[in-house]
Symmetry: D2
């Protein structure tokens, strides 16, 4: 399955990129296929490994904050993989040209 | 923590209430505190028990569908509980009157 | 269409119920059918009136904050209305009993 | 502000890339800065122009479907722009190396 998630800590000020950096380090170390974009991080893997990963990120941020808003969006499709790139390529093929990605 | 989630099966037609009903049965049997509203189900509990619950719902719906879009939104605040009702009451106190809930 | 939305101001501390209260006052004055729950506010209406309402809430909160995270989830179904209650009742009928709502 | 959105049509089968392609064509023609990734489309612009754009996409898909689930996530920060790239670069600077994007 592919999963997009974002974690917003409350009570730490307006800028949160420092916390996103902590999350990305954990994601990078997980060995899972991932991609960071401006609104979240996309990861591909199995349910348990992804949920464990997000929990690890949450536990890390809870060392410095009292409240977290976490958004998780899952696209789970039987028998498909390589979808972080594959879904975008599939749209490009339909349009017939390369698009901004 | 409190968690709102919704699961939308693709490829089963326009109406999905039958699938929501299957989810609610599983949530109800879990013994966790919950509330169903028009856009999702809210559950309160610990990380592992809620994630296991959502996974169980997903496994159930995968018996009949090939693709699921799952949305999970978490509000995780250290040291707080009873928040399915509590958060709404807190807003009501600020407004000074009862509101539609 | 029915729409669930939530607005989280950053840089104002851990508790945000004061800001939710401001939002609910504006929603209440709009005359639209709505319901507040622990994870957001559900409103029913037409595209323009709901988007104008959310913009009004955002403009109000921007008087006191520099950054807002806004989540909007729309369920738009041709020819259906009264869905804030209707969708939940439809699930109840499938289950054959009243559920927590 | 930057906005991520996705539109899922119900009742049209399991694959929806054909509908995403229609959306991307409209986004591309808008002239707004955008980026497509596996879980949605990110656009940067002002409130009205982005909401009008999403409405246009919705109207287009409603020609062929009866029900749409639309997700919109807004990160609205006063005085900032160029954030589709800028937010990711800000995280990279904190980590001290390039990341997958």
């Amino acid at each position: 399955m592919i999963v997009q998630f974002s974690i917003v800590p409350l009570g730490v000020g307006v800028s949160v990129s420092e916390y996103v950096a902590k999350v990305i380090k954990i994601v990078d170390e997980s060995g899972l296929s991932y991609k960071l974009h401006a609104m979240g991080t996309i990861v591909e893997g199995e349910w348990d490994e992804i949920m464990d990963l997000i929990k690890k990120c949450r536990d890390e941020l809870f060392k410095e904050t009292e409240r977290l808003i976490i958004d998780i969006k899952i696209d789970d499709r039987k028998g498909f993989s390589g979808r972080i790139e594959g879904k975008v390529l599939s749209v490009e093929r339909k349009i017939g040209k390369e698009i901004k990605k």
